[in-house]
């Protein structure tokens, strides 16, 4: 077993009520690294196009990486993956907090959950025992309450991950939440519903184990030097969080406004920016494991209509999706909406997407008050937001349909509703505008889990400010350039997958972490003597295998697209108001850079080069 890993993965069968330990080989670890890469390997082998995402045969995989519990900065993350019930294809979500560190302290690199329990259960995993426990008393509780109850029973040192009522009710935009009211979210792709389908309410972890590090002193010295610089440079992300730039996001045209229809909002972003949160509601900053940046918010609203809201504050994505996207400019309402989603375990991005869709359908008479228990779905109305979050979570009235995502809802409603469904491959858009950044357009169109802002390492940063010589990006590419963009996104996706496999926060690209650092650290941790080329190939291998997962599910070029509103309709005002993305011009060079054919299928030659031909052609 290489150093840096615990060398053990737990396989939990909830049908058979068995728990066994497996030991992945060094060859597999070196090839897929960990996190999303290793999850892809297991999911590819054990599920396929026939697997019912909400059936017992689906796997729910929780995975750490070699950076977890190594002391590497901002490595308190883990991956969750399963076949997605929302999209029917590859699904994964990456989450911060401290749960991944807790799992490794308990002695495990990952957990593969299969089967389904007839009754609600939770897993208790410590460094001395693994138990499948009765969760009848937890069923129906929200994620904050679940964390409180489990800590009361097992002690304050445990870290929990749980689903809320949305996951229990198999809502297809349900999230999995960690760290109680600090509320870090494995939000995307409806993985909370997969957990709910297995009647698995929570996983509590605790322990004192630690992986052996190949050169602990060397690693510590390197990290110490870097962390000093990071503290000096943490600036706005520390001060105001991920929503600091919100005013600029509106100005530049990056912010979603009125279900992606408008390009400007009259400066209303001023009212819901990170600065407002800092000034009025911030109690303290939240740091994920081993992080010194602290972009998380802990807020408290002490008076007014939403008095009592306390815990994690809304992130940029949340403010964009349930705020500007719905024309809601009331910061306190957004804090409340965020808390409800966190407690119920709903993805705030997809929730904002389906509610924006519903408001536009209501505006056009496709949804009426008969469908909403009399609630008016008026743009900008916080009461409509709160009511729909409840309806979606508890599958009431129109909420039952909306909880299946905009693609399914638009298909059911029919007519021009499809014009309002802003998704790719069935996943609702996050809060960055593809009409503003060409790289974002190509990424949303091609990413394995659907419209995803997190699978290209933030290409808009590499368009404006950053470089990456190892992939040939010697200077920032420019936001509207076409030439070279296919190659850039193809390679950034591979490197992004590497971050998610090693387990390190992608914001680190702003804080003096580059590929050379990643390489140095993995060698110091594991004792491997990897080259830069080998490291980059590991990222590419994982990404390509996940693409092959989707290919097996029927995905090809026809699916690598954007909704008509984004592709064909300029917004007419605001930053980039006259633009639509030149997707097709970028797509062919992208496929070429990936080694995929004209239909977006990885060629046999590519699969052989990455040594995944056998697993893909079995």
């Amino acid at each position: 077993m290489p150093k840096g890993y615990m060398g053990k993965i737990l396989r939990v069968d909830l049908t058979a009520k068995t728990v066994v330990e497996e030991n992945p080989s060094e060859e597999i670890l070196k090839k897929y690294i960990g996190g999303v890469g290793l999850s892809g390997y297991y999911l590819y082998k054990e599920t396929d196009e026939k697997t019912d995402p909400l059936g017992p045969d689906n796997r729910l995989v929780f995975m750490t990486g070699p950076f977890t519990l190594s002391g590497v900065p901002s490595s308190g993350r883990h991956s969750v993956a399963a076949k997605s019930p929302l999209t029917g294809i590859w699904g994964d979500a990456d989450v911060g907090g401290t749960w991944g560190i807790g799992l490794k302290k308990a002695g495990y690199d990952g957990i593969i959950v299969q089967g389904a329990s007839p009754k609600p259960v939770y897993l208790f995993i410590s460094d001395s025992e693994v138990k499948i426990e009765d969760a009848s008393a937890l069923w129906g509780k929200d994620t904050f309450e679940t964390d409180d109850i489990l800590k009361e029973k097992h002690g304050a040192n445990i870290v929990t991950q749980s689903i809320g009522q949305a996951g229990e009710n198999l809502v297809k935009i349900a999230s999995i939440m960690t760290d109680g009211s600090s509320a870090r979210a494995a939000a995307r792709c409806g993985l909370g519903a997969v957990m709910g389908s297995k009647k698995l309410k929570a996983i509590a972890v605790t322990g004192n184990k630690k992986p052996e590090i190949f050169d602990e002193e060397g690693l510590k010295a390197d990290i110490k030097e870097l962390v000093t610089v990071q503290v000096q440079n943490r600036g706005g992300m520390h001060e105001h969080g991920t929503a600091e730039g919100l005013i600029g996001n509106e100005l530049s045209g990056d912010l979603p406004i009125k279900n992606w229809k408008l390009g400007a909002w009259g400066g209303n972003a001023e009212k819901i920016s990170g600065e407002v949160m800092t000034e009025k509601y911030l109690e303290k900053r939240y740091f994920c494991g081993n992080c010194v940046v602290g972009c998380g918010r802990e807020i408290h609203i002490k008076e007014g209509k939403y008095a009592g809201v306390r815990g994690s504050g809304p992130e940029y994505e949340t403010i964009g999706c349930i705020g500007s996207n719905l024309l809601i400019d009331d910061m306190e309402a957004l804090c409340k909406g965020n808390e409800l989603c966190n407690r119920y375990g709903l993805d705030t991005i997809s929730a904002g997407g389906v509610i924006g869709f519903a408001m536009e359908c209501y505006e056009h008479g496709l949804i009426t008050e008969k469908d909403t228990d009399g609630i008016k779905l008026t743009w900008g109305d916080p009461d409509a937001l709160m009511a729909l979050i409840e309806m979606i979570t508890f599958k009431k009235s129109i909420g039952a349909l909306l909880g299946q995502g905009v693609r399914t809802a638009a298909g059911e409603i029919g007519g021009i509703a499809k014009e309002f469904a802003i998704e790719t491959k069935g996943l609702e858009f996050p809060a960055h505008e593809p009409r503003c950044f060409n790289g974002t357009a190509l990424t949303y169109a091609t990413s394995n889990r659907g419209a995803c802002h997190n699978s290209d390492l933030g290409s808009r940063f590499f368009e404006k400010k950053l470089t990456m010589p190892e992939i040939g990006l010697m200077e920032p590419a420019g936001i509207h350039t076409v030439e070279g963009k296919g190659h850039m996104i193809a390679k950034l996706q591979d490197v992004s997958g590497l971050y998610d496999s090693l387990k390190i926060c992608k914001f680190m690209v702003w804080f003096n972490v580059d590929n050379a650092k990643l390489l140095k650290w993995i060698n110091l941790i594991t004792g491997w003597n990897m080259t830069m080329e080998e490291l980059l190939i590991a990222g590419e291998t994982g990404y390509t295998l996940r693409r092959m997962y989707n290919v097996r599910c029927g995905i090809s070029r026809k699916d690598d697209t954007l909704p008509p509103r984004i592709l064909n309709q300029p917004r007419g005002e605001g930053g980039c108001g006259d633009r639509v993305p030149p997707l097709n011009e970028m797509l062919v060079p992208y496929y070429e850079a990936k080694g995929w054919d004209e239909f977006g299928i990885p060629t046999d030659e590519t699969l052989k080069r990455l040594d995944i031909f056998e697993i893909c052609k079995r």
Partner: protein
Amino acid sequence: MKVTVKLRASLKRFSKTGESTVVMELIEGQKIRAIIEELGIPETDFGLITVNGCLTETDQLLKEGDSVELFTMLKGG
């Protein structure tokens, strides 16, 4: 010539007076880049720039009375 510079959000930390709005004395023919260099703002810290409310870039020439706003780099979640 005098121009007004507004430092948005955390860029306020680069203000020499501690205030987010500062008036700066520039020489005729200087560009926005001169303000950024004078204040010592690293390249990766600022994002958007507006002059008199319009988006622009660092190479824009400034004139007497211009109102410049500097925004942090868009990061998002």
